[in-house]
């Protein structure tokens, strides 16, 4: 089986303003098609760099990043990217924000009727029916996250990259959105790479978890999460296996937690 995303001994240095950041050190990793892979690690350990390399927004300093067998050497439009920050366009309504990916790129020439139909379908899927004509400023944080999710699903990419998408939300909303994400993803056949610093979130969602060390990021441990699917994020945390996974992964994570440094 060809891995959908493959990192082959990748190291990466980049500039953040005028500071040099050594983000990744000799990372090798294979993502299986259709899996939900969570990446956890201390703040600033290069988790986001993994996603940026996969999306082709950065080029590896050493080594190679491959997507579906071929090297990623420019922006990878096979993926969708959901970032932590709210970045809907504030001057566009929900409908027009969700439709944005169909105005650019390879869907540009899709007939208008089909576009409208597809936008409506994904808006309904994330539960925003009735809010099509609202501006982002009129929505709650959770609704904005839902709109962002619809925007990244609407062009039906094979792979979804999510960078701490629920990081800034309160605990209850986070659980609700995790449940909705699982419901959307399970059975879709899409690959999902999910970066988080929340170990509980990672275990609840993922098929596999990668624990990264602090900068320069290396892979410290990879764990298969064999919790049954479909999963109930509200209940799964009370199962005994969950506790075992948590302890094992926490041990791997803990060593680096004190060294973690946030980049600003």
């Amino acid at each position: 089986m060809v891995p959908i995303v493959e990192f082959d001994r990748v190291s990466k240095v980049f500039f953040k303003g005028s500071t040099q950041v050594h983000a990744l050190q000799n990372v090798s990793l294979q993502v299986r098609p259709g899996e939900l892979l969570a990446v956890v690690g201390p703040s600033g350990c290069g988790k986001s760099t993994l996603l940026n390399l996969t999306a082709g927004l950065m080029q590896p300093g050493m080594g190679e990043v491959r997507y579906d067998g071929s090297a990623v050497d420019s922006v990878n439009t096979q993926v969708a990217y959901v970032t932590q920050k709210d970045n809907l366009l504030p001057w566009r309504t929900v409908e027009s924000n969700v439709g944005l990916p169909l105005e650019v790129g390879r869907h540009r020439d899709m007939p208008a009727i089909q576009k409208r139909e597809r936008v409506a379908r994904y808006i309904a899927m994330v539960g925003l029916k009735g809010f099509e004509n609202h501006f982002p400023a009129e929505l709650s944080g959770g609704m904005r996250k839902r709109a962002q999710l619809a925007r990244s699903l609407v062009y039906e990419p094979d792979t979804l990259l999510m960078d701490e998408p629920f990081g800034a939300l309160d605990a209850q909303l986070k659980l609700t959105l995790q449940a909705e994400l699982l419901k959307t993803w399970e059975g879709s056949g899409k690959t999902l790479i999910f970066v988080t610093h929340d170990l509980t979130e990672a275990i609840s969602l993922a098929d596999r978890i990668i624990v990264m060390s602090s900068r320069p990021g290396t892979i410290r441990s990879i764990a298969e999460i064999r919790l049954p699917r479909p999963r109930d994020v509200f209940q799964v945390r009370f199962s005994p296996e969950f506790g075992d996974y948590f302890e094992t992964l926490w041990a791997a994570l803990r060593e680096d937690m004190k060294h973690g440094t946030e980049l600003h």
Partner: protein, 284 residues
């Protein structure tokens, strides 16, 4: 899960607050009272100032130096009756408006160009800072030499004054766009053109409008200044002409009109802004 929690969770939600609360809530009445007070005090302030001026003129200070509100009013009436003022307003506004438009076009254009191209911005940055610190009034004689005494010179000078706030704000607006957002839209397959026209420019618009508000007075200042130097028409000409004749009432009358024009222009830009940036004002 215990029963008590479930009971707590299924308590019915109150559908709507009674509408009456908006009529009786003390915080709403207090706010209304404050608004009325502010308007009353504004009117009182102008009455006191104008009255004081009227009384002081001719008693404490000679009207030769400070004129008086009533003399200014009569001067205004006379200027309107003679037809001189409407024509002056027209020619000043024509210069101000065309300079404004030209300044906006160049300011927004260069702002976008600089904003999307880091190299160009870095190369030209020190030159622009130099031009910015230059007292631009000093350029009027040079502009007269280059463009003559006519409409072009006045328009170009006005445009130069208008240009900087617009340019700076457009640039800031484009640089303010979140890099994350640009990354996300690139991954969607957006071309550079898409990025500029669908993200950068609309996102800079709020900043551009802030720049417009700042440069409205500059458009008037530019037009009036250029007319003072070179013209035989417009409010600037009236100002310099009345000053030369020690006609303080006429001078103040021209200043009053200029101020009113400035307020009107600012209001107009505000109206356009509210329409274009509708999304910004739609908040809870």
């Amino acid at each position: 899960m215990s029963n008590a929690i479930e009971v707590a969770m299924t308590r019915p939600i109150v559908e709507k607050p009674e509408a009456d609360v908006f009529a009786v809530d003390p915080s709403i009445r207090a706010r209304r009272r404050e608004n009325t007070l502010v308007i009353a005090l504004r009117i009182a302030l102008s009455v006191v100032l104008l009255g004081g001026w009227e009384l002081a003129s001719g008693t404490i200070v000679s009207p030769f130096w400070v004129s008086s509100p009533s003399l200014i009013f009569f001067a205004l009436v006379e200027m309107v009756a003679s037809g001189g003022l409407p024509f002056a307003i027209f020619s000043t506004m024509l210069v101000a408006a065309s300079g404004f438009v030209l300044g906006i076009a160049i300011g927004v254009g260069l702002g976008v160009l600089f904003g999307v191209n880091r190299i160009v911005a870095r190369v030209l940055d020190p030159y622009l800072t130099g031009l910015y610190t230059l007292p631009r009034v000093a350029l009027v004689p040079l502009f007269i030499l280059w463009f003559g005494l006519g409409f072009e010179m006045k328009t170009i000078f006005t445009a130069l004054l208008v240009f900087f706030p617009i340019f700076m704000n457009t640039l800031a607006g484009i640089r303010d766009v979140d890099d994350d957002l640009i990354d996300v839209i690139r991954v969607m397959g957006a071309s550079r053109r898409d990025t500029i026209f669908k993200v950068l420019v609309p996102s800079a618009l709020a900043w551009v409008f802030a720049g417009l508000r700042i440069s409205v007075p500059f458009a008037l200042i530019g037009a009036v200044l250029a007319e003072m130097f070179s013209s035989s028409e417009g409010l600037g000409y009236i100002i310099s002409n009345t000053a030369n004749q020690f006609d303080t009432a006429g001078l103040f009358a021209a200043l009053v009109v200029t101020t009113i024009l400035g307020l009107a222009l600012d209001w107009l830009v505000g109206m356009v802004e509210r329409r274009v940036l509708r999304w910004q004002h739609k908040r809870h």
